[in-house]
């Protein structure tokens, strides 16, 4: 009996994934593409070589950092949609260091990462300030700041940071060598970045569970007014939550331009911030789940450009798959709760 129950739970747990796959399959059939081949392309695109696996791991880093950061703001009950802009600001600050401080590798990299965190934290705190003092809901504040950050990045690249042979959307000149984060041999993955990402997940997990700060954020997230009357200093906590998430996103931005591109790009975040919001939503705000989900998301992300190459399909199918998994999780979760309620009343 117990075995059956467990089996049922596993099946129900898998139901959202099956539903999402069903949905994307339908879409593929609708545009007349063979679904099995499409999925095979995504899989092989993500795992066929060490280089691809390295790409997946590298893509994971950003999703982990931002997803973990967002579990902080979610715990505090805040929708930090502004991560996208916080990544950009992190990249901008790091780029400034890379372009202006011609030092040896260790100090320059350290400073780049710290500057990135500072930039992200400031941009995050700005969304928090708008919320606290301007009463602008963080979704609108964050989104607005994303577009402003984007504008700022483009302006920098097209004006003060213009490459000698003219500005294009392909970004600044490459950084000087010391500002490149060392990679694992020929693979496009920086071990240091991976370590930092996993470390951040562990640290945030501990902060949220074992510290007063974490408990206070949790209380605020569940009931802002009660927490305040119980003596939680809500404004500083809120701002630190935003700043902490921003710092992690800024770190991700710094890593992205230092380890992946070695330059600043106008589209340095590439929608990864929004994507990590989905990661955090799927993780149910628990940082310990973020790395696993990030791996799935990253694999789909790295694998789907293969669709364009081999099947002349748009790579955004990967995005459809990821978002529909999250949607299906919500719908199935809600449906199960509904069934439980119905059972209770009869």
């Amino acid at each position: 009996m117990k075995g059956i129950l467990r089996l049922k739970n596993v099946l129900l747990g898998l139901a959202p994934v099956v539903l999402a796959l069903l949905f994307t399959t339908l879409i593929l059939v609708a545009v007349g593409a063979p679904p099995v081949e499409a999925y095979r392309n995504i899989l092989s695109g993500a795992f066929e070589s060490w280089q691809k696996i390295a790409d997946v791991v590298a893509a994971c880093v950003l999703l982990i950092l931002c997803g973990v950061g967002m579990s902080i703001t979610f715990t505090a009950g805040q929708w930090n949609v502004g991560v996208e802009g916080q990544i950009v600001l992190g990249a901008i600050f790091a780029t400034w260091v890379a372009r202006n401080l011609l030092w040896p590798q260790v100090p320059v990299l350290t400073l780049m990462l710290l500057a990135g965190m500072l930039g992200g934290a400031l941009w995050g705190a700005l969304a928090g300030l708008l919320k606290v003092y301007g009463k602008v809901h963080e979704i609108f504040g964050g989104l607005g700041l994303n577009y402003v950050a984007q504008g700022l990045a483009i302006w920098l690249i097209f004006n003060p940071w213009k490459p000698a042979d003219g500005a294009t959307m392909s970004g600044t000149d490459p950084f000087p060598d010391p500002a490149w984060m060392p990679r694992l041999g020929d693979l496009r993955v920086a071990p240091l970045a991976v370590i930092l990402a996993l470390l951040s997940a562990a640290v945030v997990y501990f902060l949220l569970r074992g510290t007063r700060w974490g408990l206070e954020l949790k209380a605020m997230g569940k009931n802002f007014r009660s927490a305040f009357l119980l003596g939680v200093p809500s404004t500083p906590r809120l701002l630190t939550a935003f700043a902490a998430c921003g710092a992690l996103a800024g770190l991700a931005g710094a890593i992205r331009c230092s380890a992946r591109y070695g330059r600043m790009l106008p589209d340095i975040s590439g929608g990864q911030g929004y994507l990590s919001l989905l990661v955090a939503l799927l993780a149910g705000y628990r940082p310990q789940w973020v790395p696993l989900i990030a791996l799935f998301f990253a694999a789909v992300g790295v694998g789907s450009p293969r669709l364009e190459l081999n099947m002349q399909l748009d790579s955004s199918l990967g995005g459809v798959l990821r978002a529909s998994v999250v949607l299906a999780v919500m719908l199935v979760g809600g449906w199960r709760a509904l069934m439980a309620r119905r059972q209770e009343t009869t």
């Binding site: 007063r212 949790k218 200093p233």
Partner: protein, 492 residues
């Protein structure tokens, strides 16, 4: 219209709110439904008026068995209910409130609606401006609007649930006159749900008493008070003893306080509270008492004046400084503002320790939670989320979280919604604190509670605070007049 309730049963989980209740309600009478909080009065009336479906039993209207799937069906049969917190739409205008779901044509005829509202209002001497927003009305006026609406819908049978909470003495007099007129002159039936003996005595023709979901007695009025009390509580209540505490040094000084919001301006309030003193704040909802109480705790900005706690000037200081100085604020809505739904008791205990270590020792927090659960007689486990507790137990948790050795405790409605025994227990705890020198200021809408528990009572009316009166020299009537802004009753 004659209504019979036969063996009505309604359960909420393990709680039997109505456990086989039978009552017959005759036309042309005012029938009192008496019982303490939680006796099952409101549940029974919600079953009758279609808000809830009973789990068992039958409802007969003029001998015909009926069942209502919604309040709308009940009102079509002429049964309407006025809820304790009137179910209206505060941000809409009076006329729109009146017309909503009343004028069933596609485009309601506003001119007709306005005329109807005026005419009905004139009949009962209710003066309601059709264009005013409901937010700006007092609870009494909102009740009047609902009564008019129910009458316009053709209600022959009107249920009023605790209608006198939060309305002024003149409004109460007007309400009672209206109810008498409806029953005596127009032959309608009125059910008057209350836990207040005097009101039932004053108004009702017949009374049914409920206790713990069962009928414990029925009586024609007038009836000796002792008998009613026995039916309500199962025994006569001993008078509550008020321990006399010699007030200590001044704890709180408020000088010339003004709080200006464009909705209401509180002006020139002066108050001195001594250690061990209990001050009650009375007034209709929205008269400024809550603004004032919040301002005492640094939760509202003062436009002028000063607030001193133990001689330290806290004017303009944030709430945190108030807490640091030994103050505490317990709001009315327990799950809305007092406790954090979703957190366990242990987490609450850890959270409430404001100056606790940055790293939480969960084993220790759990130990302390167990200790408080025992000390405060809380029915619950350290791992229970607070929303799983009953209202009375939640209020105990609120008290259990207050730090010891407080200088000043500010409370909104400390016992609202609690049964008599829980309320007594809560006050025992509060009064024990005053012996340690804690000064208490509380807001209440319950005049008996104010008179019984306070040393002095200050009444707010339209943002003005009266000079505090001594509770032992004041009667309910005098207090009622002060609340209504009439100085005629000002004796003390």
């Amino acid at each position: 219209m004659r209504v019979e309730l036969v063996e009505i049963k309604k359960h909420f989980g393990p709680v039997r709110a109505n456990d086989g209740v039978s009552v017959t309600l005759e036309p042309g009478t005012i029938h009192g439904l008496l019982g303490e909080n939680g006796a099952g009065k409101t549940t029974l009336m919600k079953c009758l008026s279609g808000y809830q479906a009973p789990d068992g039993g039958t409802i007969k209207v003029d001998g015909q068995p009926v069942s209502f799937a919604s309040p709308d069906e009940a009102i079509r049969r002429g049964i309407g209910m006025l809820h304790q917190d009137p179910l209206d739409f505060p941000q809409m205008r009076v006329l729109d409130n009146f017309l909503l779901a009343f004028d069933r044509r596609m485009v309601p005829d506003r001119r007709r609606g306005r005329a109807m509202l005026r005419e009905l209002g004139a009949r009962f001497h209710f003066d309601l401006d059709p264009e005013a927003e409901v937010t700006g009305l007092t609870i009494g006026e909102r009740q009047q609007l609902e009564i008019l609406r129910l009458l316009a819908l053709g209600a022959q049978f009107i249920i009023l649930d605790e209608p006198t909470t939060g309305i002024s003495a003149p409004q109460k007099a007007k309400l009672f006159a209206t109810l008498r007129h409806l029953a005596d002159d127009e032959g309608r039936s009125v059910v008057f749900v209350s836990h207040k003996l005097e009101e039932v005595e004053e108004l009702c023709h017949r009374v049914t008493v409920l206790r713990r979901g069962k009928v414990t007695g029925e009586a024609e009025m007038p009836c000796p008070v002792g008998r009613l009390v026995e039916m309500m509580f199962g025994r006569s209540l001993p008078p509550v003893e008020c321990p006399l505490v010699e007030p200590g040094p001044v704890v709180l000084q408020v000088e010339g306080a003004a709080i200006s919001s464009y909705r209401l301006a509180v002006q020139d309030v002066n108050l001195e509270v001594r250690a061990g003193e209990v001050i009650g704040l009375a007034g209709l909802e929205g008269s400024g008492q809550r603004l004032f109480l919040r301002a005492c705790g640094g939760l509202e900005r003062l436009a002028a004046g000063r607030v001193l706690l133990d001689g330290r000037d806290l004017t303009g200081a944030p709430y945190r400084r108030f807490l640091d100085a030994g103050g505490a604020y317990a709001p009315a809505g327990r799950l809305e503002e007092g406790l954090v739904g979703g957190l366990t008791l242990t987490e609450h205990v850890a959270l409430a320790e404001r100056n606790g270590p940055s790293l939480i020792d969960w084993a220790d927090a759990r130990r302390r939670a167990v200790e408080r659960i025992r000390h405060f007689n809380i029915v619950g486990q350290p791992e229970s989320p607070v929303e799983a507790l009953s209202g009375g137990n939640q209020q105990r948790v609120v008290l259990a979280l207050l730090p010891p050795g407080l200088r000043l405790l500010l409370m909104e409605h400390p016992t609202r919604g609690l049964d008599v025994e829980s309320a007594n227990w809560i006050w025992q705890q509060l009064l024990a604190r005053r012996e340690d020198g804690t000064a208490i200021i509380f807001i209440s809408a319950d005049l008996d509670e104010l008179l019984e528990r306070s040393d002095r009572i200050a009444v707010f009316y339209g943002g003005q605070m009266s000079a505090p009166v001594r509770a032992c020299d004041t009667t309910v009537e005098q207090l009622g007049y002060l609340i209504a802004g009439k100085s005629a009753g000002r004796g003390a």
